[in-house]
């Protein structure tokens, strides 16, 4: 099982290093994995001129799974569009066809205070957001900025085909079957034809899953309901653009986005795994960042790409045990717990493993 490791920018290298220690431990215990490193994002632009250089493309395509830290930083913000770090991220997602982005929003009981929401509203929160990741207005053509009647006009195209909707809907229903059999699909069908088709196709796919209770919600209402009563949701599925917004809103409900992993899967469960948080340039290189989201991304990798449920649960249990011991990086620290560094958190997870 080949893993491509792309540490990326900012805190990426630090947090990925801790996740690799976890992978090393599993390998020592007999897990047949090997890995190779590559560059993506701002560092890749600096080194090669491209945020997703060809060597990384080959590496990623040959791998069974990819572990990514995070990309971006202020020093690359003024580069031309095609060289910005996020183009590397969009490029690798699109090229690998990892259309199913799974983003759990889970509140760890030990971290309940971190939420800005009242405890009774979020305690026990456990939502799985499934975001379509390689279609929609992110990649739709035509797009651009041009002059029309003497003024600049910017435009993008939101577009979904039946087959694109069908395959992500299937992932969502299958996920719901393994959880509480409740799926909420989010669209804006009262305004957008693209999402009218979304609702129609999700409804059609739902006929194959009569055990799943399917509901539909408009995106504005979903943004409200996540604040009003997030525990009404179990699995949510939506398009790339709405998913970008709603999954970030949902993660923040937990107050500890430094804990949240993500998986992006293709049709054969090859996957790109990354923490939900960004590259946090302000704390990069200071041994302060929380590596747990990246370590939990490794757990998702073992579960989804390598079907090693046991190993996945072993990692998740280790993370829970570390939290139960009261160990916290700065982002999740509160009075009465012990503040530790990135590497110390890695040590603690390894010890618990």
């Amino acid at each position: 099982m080949k893993i491509a490791i792309l540490p990326g920018d900012g805190i990426g290298p630090e947090i990925v290093a801790q996740a690799v220690r976890v992978l090393d431990a599993l390998r020592s215990d007999g897990l047949p994995i090997e890995y190779e490193y590559g560059v993506l994002g701002g560092g890749a632009v600096d080194a090669t001129g491209s945020p997703y250089p060809e060597a990384t493309q080959k590496l990623a395509q040959a791998a069974d799974a990819i572990l990514l830290g995070a990309v971006g930083g202020p020093q690359w913000d003024n580069l031309p569009r095609e060289q910005r770090p996020e183009r590397g991220l969009l490029g690798i997602r699109k090229q690998l066809g990892v259309f199913a982005n799974l983003r759990p929003a889970v509140l760890y009981p030990e971290l309940a205070n971190a939420s800005t929401l009242k405890p009774e509203v979020v305690s026990g929160l456990d939502i799985m957001i499934i975001r379509e990741l390689v279609g929609d207005i992110y990649f739709g053509e035509p797009r651009g900025i041009e002059t029309r009647n003497g003024e600049r006009v910017g435009y993008n195209t939101m577009v979904y085909s039946e087959s694109e909707i069908r395959r992500i809907a299937k992932v969502a229903f299958e996920t719901a079957m393994r959880r509480n059999r409740k799926l909420c699909s989010v669209d804006k069908m009262n305004v957008l034809e693209a999402t009218q088709l979304w609702r129609d196709v999700v409804t059609e796919v739902g006929k194959d899953y009569p055990q799943v209770e399917l509901s539909h919600m408009l995106v504005d209402n979903a943004a409200m309901q996540l604040v009003r009563n997030p525990k009404q949701f179990d699995v949510m599925v939506t398009g790339n653009m709405f998913g970008d917004i709603l999954s970030d809103e949902a993660s923040m409900l937990t107050g500890s986005i430094g804990m949240l992993p993500s998986a992006s899967l293709d049709a054969n469960n090859k996957g790109l795994y990354e923490p939900c948080h960004g590259s946090a340039p302000d704390i990069a290189g200071k041994n302060l960042a929380n590596p747990l989201a990246t370590i939990l991304s490794v757990a998702m990798m073992l579960r989804y790409s390598f079907a090693k449920e046991d190993a996945a649960q072993r990692i998740e249990a280790a993370v829970k045990s570390v939290l139960a011991q009261g160990l916290r990086t700065a982002d999740i620290f509160e009075a009465g717990t012990e503040k530790i560094s990135t590497t110390q958190m890695g040590d603690a997870v390894l010890a618990a493993l």
Copy 2:
């Protein structure tokens, strides 16, 4: 000053009736207003076959301001697209060119408990969201659902021109000048060219307002920051689609969306005024709905379309006094307050006036 009154569907007629009592009282006190009624939404479809019939179009075009209840209900959900109630709403917005949608998200101290967020996070919350209302993917062409290579494809066009962005940016900066001179513009410039132009033009307009502290935020981050620390915002400006989502999220932070009014203005301050909430078909006709958002929409009408700041403040003070008296409709009721009906709430506001 001519006002068109469009009670709409569901609870619309009940809440508008209370707002009209307030207008009546101001008229008795010498405010030179007259009004005429029209139909919009589901009721209009039933009566005329169109959600925005010609008679209503004439009425709205001739008026100086329009007061709208709310539109929609399940009985109209399966009508063909062009006949759905919300097409009436989109139609009147577009035809009147009310491009600047002002949506305050204000937490009334008396209702602080209603929020699902911790008191320290939301106490004193007072955000003004300015949403562009007649452009973007809501109205962009081409759009539709068609068959391509043997499968259905749905598509919409996000589009903004320089002049459209410029005029809404001006409203935002002017609003910021009258408040705390802090403006946050929300876009997704790292992915969408249409919003790259948005950022560029807002930045250009900002040069004319050196006293306003302008910041830019990506929409996914904005959705997070509204949950993490909403009080960091004063005035926010964004496009139609992102504004739909973020303004609803922001309203829900207060926990009392039944209190929130909105104004939609054209270039000459002609305006369409409506509560932020919907038509609530489940409680329609039961004398349960909260009329305060509609009454506060009348205050916005007096402020923005009629430049009667005194009268606006008189209404707002009356609403505050009613809350201070402990009077609550069911949606904002809590132990220790007195639960009253829609009409009783109207009585109370009139008495306080």
